[in-house]
Structures are given as C-alpha cells and as structure tokens.
C-alpha cells in the first residue's frame, strides 16, 4: 500500500514539474482547473449527490466558472493579479471561519448540512485553491513558487504521516478524523520549519527584504492551513458517510484527499506573498 502510494506520488510530482516548468501560466491554470474539476466530481459525492449526471454537471459548472474567470481576467497570458488579490483575502477569511466549523464539529453542522450548501462550499474550496494556484503561477518565478508551495504541503503531509504513524497517540480532532494525531501535526510542522530554514538559506539577495521570521510564519500558517484543508474533507466525508472520496489515485484514496491540503493552504501562501511584499 505504502509503495503504491509513493509511486503514485512520484508520478504526480513528475507530471506536475513538467507542466509547471513547460506550460505558460494561463495554460497551467487551465490544466489545474481540469484536475480540480475531477475533484469537483468527487465533491458532488460528498455533497450527497450520487447520480453520475449530477456529478458531471457539477464538475462542468466548476470548469465553466474557471473558464469564465480566465476569459474575463486574462492579460498577457496570465490572470490579472490585481483582480485575484482581494479574493485571496476573502478566501483566507472563509477558511478561518471554516476552522470554527471543523473545530466544533458536529455542533454547528446544522448550518451547512443541506446538499446545496455543501456543494457551494465545495465550489468555494476548490475555486479558492484554483485561483490561488493560478495567482502563484502568474507571478515572477511563478513555477519556483508553485513548486515550493507543493513541496511545503507535501512535506507537511509526509512528516505528519510518518511521525503520526510511529509516535501518534493523542487524536487531533477525534470527532472529525480518528487517524490524525497531535504528534503527527507537530511532525509535519517540524519538517516544514526545516524547509523554511532551507528557503531562507537559499533566498536570492533581491528578496533580502523578506524577514526570516516572515518565512517561518508563512511555513507555520501553510502547515496549519493544509491540516485544516485535510480535516475539512474528513469532516465532509464523515457527514456524508463515505471513507474515501474516490478511487482515482492508486494508494491515495480519492483525488480530493490530495487536493484538500493544497486548497486549504494555497490562499494563505498566496496572500502571504502579497503581504510580505513579494507580489
């Protein structure tokens, strides 16, 4: 199982690297939209919509939204960053509010239990993740940033996985996901902080105005947000009563199980780039 999981991860990483280095930003945006649309297809299941055609329509609505954004806001082969930037703030705020729902689950689940609400939240989660990734790809050295971001999220996942499975004792959020442990969270954080130190070490001199404390804080926020993304999907799975969100990726459960932490952390990463004065 683990071997299969690692193979799949490596293949995904390779495909991602080729795409992010070779494709122009707008194409990359479109590609991510297509991948996320598959995620949307799975999400429709989490919203309680099992019929194939409903899920297809939902995925198409998502692609339609992305296409609409691309057609309206593209300029010089990237998405207009001034148009996206404020939405990043809104997305981060929405995630913060969502943290409240996850933390108090199942107390406040009556607020979002309706299928329509769950589906709308899905559009927001996936849309926010897609928009944030599109924003990163369009920045100067966008492919480096995007790769770095994916590595940070993956590292936090991997760190949490190994530390959690060896030392994990105390559940992080027992009502949402029985498998996640507090020890695993710290493990993930530790790996991310190591990465942050490396980034600081390797940071080109033209970004010297970015303070090391800022880099570490971005790491901490991304790590927290990626766990939040993870827990959010777990919460939706719990609510809809399925274990894996799909079977698209061998060894990984559903595609959403890979996209969740990306969707959670991407708006925070993108907004912090704005705040520290990178973009």
């Amino acid at each position: 199982m683990l071997v299969k999981r690692i193979y799949t991860a490596l293949i995904m990483l390779a495909v991602f690297l080729v795409a992010v280095t070779q494709l122009p930003p707008l194409m990359m945006s479109a590609l991510v939209a297509v991948v996320f649309a598959a995620g949307a297809w799975e999400w429709a299941g989490l919203a309680g919509w099992d019929a194939r055609w409903v899920r297809t329509v939902f995925a198409l609505v998502f692609v339609g939204m992305c296409a609409g954004v691309i057609l309206t806001y593209h300029q010089d082969l990237i998405l207009s960053s001034t148009a996206i930037r404020p939405v990043l703030g809104v997305a981060c705020f929405a995630w913060l509010a969502n943290a409240l729902l996850v933390d108090s689950y199942p107390k406040l689940s009556f607020l979002w239990r309706a299928s329509v609400t769950r589906a709308l939240i899905g559009l927001f989660v996936l849309g926010g993740g897609w928009l944030s990734l599109s924003y990163m790809v369009g920045l100067p050295n966008g492919w480096v940033l995007t790769t770095l971001f994916i590595v940070v999220v993956a590292a936090s996942d991997v760190g949490a996985y190994f530390v959690g499975s060896t030392l994990g004792r105390n559940p992080l959020a027992p009502d949402v996901s029985p498998k996640k442990t507090i020890e695993g969270f710290w493990g993930g954080l530790l790996v991310v902080l190591g990465l942050a130190a490396t980034v600081w070490w390797l940071l080109p001199p033209e970004y010297a105005h970015i303070h090391p404390v800022e880099i570490f804080l971005i790491g901490i926020f991304c790590c927290g947000a990626s766990v939040l993304g993870d827990l959010t999907i777990s919460m939706f799975k719990r609510e809809s009563g399925c274990k894996d969100s799909g079977t698209l990726l061998p060894g990984h459960g559903g595609l959403l199980d890979r996209l969740d932490s990306i969707c959670g952390a991407a708006p925070f990463f993108a907004l912090s780039l704005v705040l520290v004065g990178y973009a």
Binding site: T82, R85, P86, V87, L88, G89, V90, C92, F93, A94, L96, A97, A99, L100, D103, S104, L111, H211, V213, E214, L217, L271, V274, L275, V276, G277
Partner: protein, 448 residues
C-alpha cells in the same frame, strides 16, 4: 518586518477592544447573579486557560475572530440546568437583566472610548490652525469666494479649531447633496463671513475620500521651500556636490519653487542625468546629478529642511476635568452618530461600500498610529472602540443588537420569541455578518 509589527499591533488593538467588550457582558452578568461558564477571547480550542474564583473558565482561543462569554443557559446543554442552579441561568433572568447583560458589551466599548478621550483631552490637544493656504482654480471653494489667508472657524455651525476638526465635520457630509456652510474669521476684521459650498452626492463614489482637497482647499500645510536639509553620505546628491543649505532654483530647466516639486522631478528620473541650479551663500552654482534607480523610482539621498510651525498657527486646547469629561462624552456621541449615519448612507448607496474596512486595514492603521506615538494610537483605539460598539448594536441576529431586539420583543410579548424563529434569523444574521466581513476584507486587500 513591517507586516509583523502590523500583525502584532492588530492583535493588541483588537485584543484590548474584544476583551473590554466581553468584560462588559461578564461584569453585568455577574452582578445579576448569572453563572458565567466561559470567558473566551478568540473561538475554537483554547491555547491557554485558567479558572477564576467564581468558577468561570478564562480562555485564550486559537481562531481570532472575536470572543464570547458563555453563560449557564437552559437552551444549551453543556452544563445541565437543574432546580439548584436555575436561578443562576441566563434564561431565568427577568427581561431587563437580559437586556442589561447584552447591552453591556457595546456599553463597555463606549465607556472605554470616553475614558481614553477624557485622558487625551485632559492632557490637552494640539493641532494645526485651519488656515487656507491654497485654493484650487475652478474648485467649489474658489467659486464660493474663499481665499488664501482666511481661517475656518466653523463648518455647518460646528466650531472647528483645528484642521482635523474641519476634516471630521466635512466627512459627515459625504454622500450628501446640498450646501456645506463654512464660517471664516479674517485676520483683518473680527466679522465672521459665511460661505456656502454646493455639493451633489458628494464624493459618493470615492473609495478614499479627501474631503478638504475635494473642495479645492489646502489647509494648514505650510509651503516647504526646496532647501537641502540633509544628505546621505554616499547618495547621488552628495557625489554631485550638493551641500546642506543649498536652495534649489531650477532643475533640468524647470523652475522649482516648492520641495514637493523637486521630489516629483527626481522620482520621475531614475538613471537620467540633469543639471540643477542652486543658490549657495548668495551666489549661484550649477550641479549635475543622476538619481539612482530604486525600483524604477529616482532617488538622490537628500532630506528636507522641515519648516518650523509658527506658534500663531498652532491651536492648543486645554480643558479642566469637568470640561474634558463633557467633551469626551460629546465626542463619543458624535462619533457614534457619525458611524450610524455613514452606515445608513452606505445602505442607501449614497457613499461607496469601498469605505468599509476590515482587519487588514485596522492592522495597517494600528501600526502606523503606534509608530507616530502612544497618544495617536490611543485616539485610534477610541475611534475603533466606538465603531465596534456601534456595529454590535446593529439589529442583526448574532450581534448584540439582534439579541436586544429579541429580548425587547420578549418583554413586549411576555414570552420568548419562538426558538425556531430565533434559529432561522440567527442563520440569516450569520450569513449577513459573514458577507459583510468578506466585503470588508476584499476592500482591505484591494487597497494594499
């Protein structure tokens, strides 16, 4: 690094205000004999908590979206309400106690503002005299007949001793249609003159309105002469041979009369060499300088001679304790009214919703006021405390104002509003507040 300071100042500023607000609820609840289960700053899981003497759990929580006071309540089942502790529950309180407990949060915010302003007024206020320094050609101010040298003494009948007082009176008129009445005292006579400046949906679409400038007025700012006040050692100006005390007369053939002109001229010319004519100790010298390129903006490493403000242009206002207290209450009241009026104008579409600000703008202002001094930060704290109190009084379920409406209805009807209606309006209110916050944050980031 700036951003870290901003985050810190936002946490401190909002932390103080949220704590005061919740403490208001807590204090009155305790006075009514209600048992408070938890006093929380932040939501979600506690990062730190301890238990008070009265059994209340004080907690600092992880999700920084506000705070809450949780009372023993029959509608809630965290701690069972039994016959023994029923009298200690919020739900068993008479309506007037419920109203008092709910209103105490905003009241605490207003009280904090009054105390802070009282302290500031007692200490004495200083500000620049609102003397007209410039009138823009063709502006409303010019057409009304206002001229340079006049001192504005009142706007719309309210006395205005300083530039910021004028600004505040003008801000009240945003979005209005009608006339702004400006009273002016003249140095030449002691007769006050009245001027009427017509406005139509004034600055309604503006996202960062500058009311004084929009009328065509320059107030209080003294013209800054283009005199070299300081030079950075390795800057382009030093290398070109500038000396402290040089008065700039001409740059690249363009006549320079004010420091601001010179700054604009340099900033627009990174990596471009030009000649500068300066007057130095009575004679004229020509220097050639090439500004350095810093992010496509030209810099030469030169500082200005900040003109000293003559005592005649400074307005000091000192008040005795009683006078200061009255003024603090009045100011809090007028700012509260201003907040409500502005929100109402926004709802009517008279002023742009771009004027809404959220936490990121608060962080920026908190940091910049903190940098310019403790008293500046304090006056921002007072202002924000008033906004927070006022917003919480809006009759939206979820907010204190919404609770007040429900409890008032309970008093009138003689029984609580049905649970189902409360829950439904709670959901609507939650969506409303959430949308409002998203709007504010959108504006915040768009402004960055």
């Amino acid at each position: 690094m700036q951003i870290l300071f901003s985050i810190l100042m936002a946490l401190v500023t909002l932390g103080v205000l949220v704590t005061i607000h919740e403490y208001g609820h807590y204090w009155v609840a305790r006075r009514c004999g209600v048992r408070v289960l938890r006093f929380a700053i932040g939501f979600g899981r506690p990062l730190a908590n301890w238990r008070g003497k009265d059994g209340t759990e004080f907690a600092l929580c992880a999700i920084p979206l506000g705070g809450y006071v949780k009372m023993l309540d029959e509608r809630d089942n965290e701690v069972a309400v039994t016959d023994v502790n029923r009298s200690e529950s919020f739900s068993a309180q008479p309506v007037r106690n419920k109203l008092a407990i709910v209103a105490a949060g905003p009241a605490a915010n207003f009280l904090l503002a009054i105390i802070v302003l009282f302290g500031l007024f007692l200490r004495g206020e200083t500000g620049l005299a609102p003397v007209v320094e410039g009138v823009t050609e063709g502006s409303a101010a010019q057409r009304s007949g206002l001229s340079v040298g006049q001192e504005i003494i009142a706007v719309d009948g309210e006395s205005t001793k300083t530039v910021s007082a004028v600004r505040f009176q003008l801000l009240k008129r945003l979005g209005d249609t009608g006339e702004i009445e400006v009273s002016v005292g003249s140095v030449l006579s002691d007769i006050n003159q009245q001027y009427s400046l017509p406005i139509t949906n004034w600055l309604g679409a503006e996202e960062a309105p500058d009311p004084v400038g929009a009328l065509g007025l320059t107030l209080g700012v003294l013209p800054v002469k283009p005199e070299v006040g300081s030079l950075s050692e390795d800057g382009a100006a030093s290398r070109a041979g500038f000396q402290v005390g040089d008065m700039i007369i001409q740059a690249g053939g363009e006549r320079i009369e004010q420091w601001a002109q010179w700054v604009d001229f340099v900033r627009a010319r990174p990596d471009q060499r030009f000649d500068v004519l300066v007057s130095r100790a009575g004679s004229q010298v020509v220097l050639s300088v090439m500004p350095e390129n810093r992010d496509s903006i030209g810099t030469v490493g030169m500082g200005v001679v900040v003109p000293e403000i003559p005592e005649s242009r400074i307005r000091r206002q000192s008040r005795g304790p009683l006078e200061a207290l009255t003024a603090a209450v009045e100011r809090t009241y007028s700012l509260t009214v201003f907040t409500f009026e502005s929100m109402w104008k926004m709802v009517q579409g008279l002023i742009s919703t771009k004027n809404l600000s959220g936490p990121i703008s608060i962080a920026q202002i908190a940091a910049s006021t903190a940098e310019s001094g403790f008293t500046t930060w304090l006056s921002f704290l007072a202002l924000l405390s008033i906004s927070l109190g006022a917003i919480n009084l809006l009759p939206i379920p979820v907010l204190d104002g919404g609770h007040i409406v429900f409890h008032a209805l309970e008093g009138i009807l003689g029984r609580p509003v049905p649970e189902q209606i409360q829950v439904m309006s709670f959901q609507v209110g939650l969506v409303a507040v959430f949308t409002l916050m998203m709007f504010a944050i959108y504006n915040d980031v768009a402004r960055l």
